[in-house]
């Protein structure tokens, strides 16, 4: 189950943050190599959303734009602890809708 569900208009750009503070309790920062993997509704790796990332302390910030109307994307945001080298994953479901999503635009 996704940690968070977000509705997004295909034309909008949104900012989503993944905070790994609770998942990587022994770390103070996550590495710059912390990244994401995107999946489509068929479970296959997708490039349907345009995503850029940045890292600050324990937070991975994802700038998300684009997407196909009607599609549900799963963003697996991966934080790698700078000290522990452990990987934590937070799952964000992004549903791209023109007319059915309210809020989060």
């Amino acid at each position: 189950m996704a940690n968070e569900v977000i509705y997004k208009h295909p034309d909008s750009g949104i900012v989503v943050t993944a905070d790994f503070t609770d998942d990587l309790a022994t770390d103070a920062t996550i590495t710059a190599g912390s990244t994401y993997t995107l999946f489509g509704s068929d479970g296959a790796v997708s490039s349907g959303l345009t995503i850029t990332t940045s890292v600050a302390t324990m937070i991975l910030t994802l700038n998300i734009s684009g997407g196909t109307e009607g599609e549900d994307y799963l963003v697996n945001a991966k934080g790698i602890g700078a000290t522990s080298a452990k990987t934590a994953v937070r799952v964000i479901e992004v549903r791209v809708r023109k007319n059915r999503g309210f809020g989060n635009y």
């Binding site: 996704a2 569900v5 068929d42 009607g70 599609e71 549900d72 479901e93 809708r97």
Partner: protein
């Protein structure tokens, strides 16, 4: 707003009944899969017809239907057989039909000798095995098995098929009923949506009856129909829109 007829739209309809975030997508996919299973258990529908072409193996009379083991047919979604035909030469194009499933295996076993040679005369489906009689074909005869198969929902939200395009509410009602039972533990609510799906008694109304009526019309459209105009059976003429024909 025009409807898209996609599987994604069915998911959205279901979600709107549970708040958008309460029904996890993984469970929702399972619920919609269950909806398709309910529909396809209820009848053999036109989209489930398909064909498998294969060749017999010399001196082999038994073939697994669901696996590829020992030259099996590898049809894991096989539901039931419709017809079987073969051609008498390796390069032949003239297929002839062979009786399928007209007697039980125990009867066929007593009619044909063990290791009897010959061309296929009888075909049986026994559990998940296709049996050819006599059991030792002497050539790798090209064959065709016409059968009903279970189908899957489209994978991508943007994809569609005949159910999502023409009968989307059948899937939606089934998934909502599943959600009321599994998520909300509300059996009364589930019962309401189940009756929208299949009526009372189940299968005699709702979306299932629409599907069956369409299936019945398609099944009969090219066949000769005989309607009694006089005599004792005149009173028993059935209309296509009479769902009681499915009893």
């Amino acid at each position: 707003m025009p409807t898209s007829g996609t599987i994604g739209e069915v998911k959205d309809i279901v979600r709107e009944h549970f708040s958008r975030t309460q029904f996890p997508t993984g469970q929702l996919d399972q619920a919609i899969d269950e909806g398709r299973r309910i529909i396809e258990h209820h009848g053999n529908f036109w989209w489930m017809r398909t064909l498998k072409s294969f060749s017999l193996v010399v001196d082999q009379g038994s073939y697994s239907i669901t696996t590829a083991a020992s030259s099996g047919l590898n049809l894991p979604k096989f539901k039931d057989a419709i017809a079987f035909s073969y051609t008498n030469s390796l390069t032949g194009v003239n297929y002839q039909q062979v009786p399928l499933g007209v007697i039980e295996r125990e009867e066929a076993d007593s009619l044909y000798n063990v290791g009897q040679d010959g061309t296929p005369e009888l075909v049986l489906v026994d559990n998940e095995t296709l049996l050819i009689y006599p059991e030792d074909p002497q050539l790798a005869y090209p064959c065709r098995l016409y059968y009903w198969t279970y189908t899957d929902n489209p994978d991508l939200n943007s994809e569609s098929d005949v159910i999502t395009l023409r009968f989307p509410m059948a899937l939606a009602y089934a998934a909502i009923a599943w959600g009321y039972e599994m998520l909300l533990k509300d059996f009364q609510g589930a019962s309401y949506f189940r009756s929208l799906l299949g009526g009372q008694p189940f299968g005699h109304g709702g979306e299932l009856a629409k599907l069956k009526k369409e299936n019945f019309k398609r099944g009969w459209q090219d066949m000769m129909t005989i309607t009694p105009r006089m005599g004792s059976n005149t009173r028993f003429r059935k209309r296509l829109d009479n769902v009681q024909i499915y009893r």
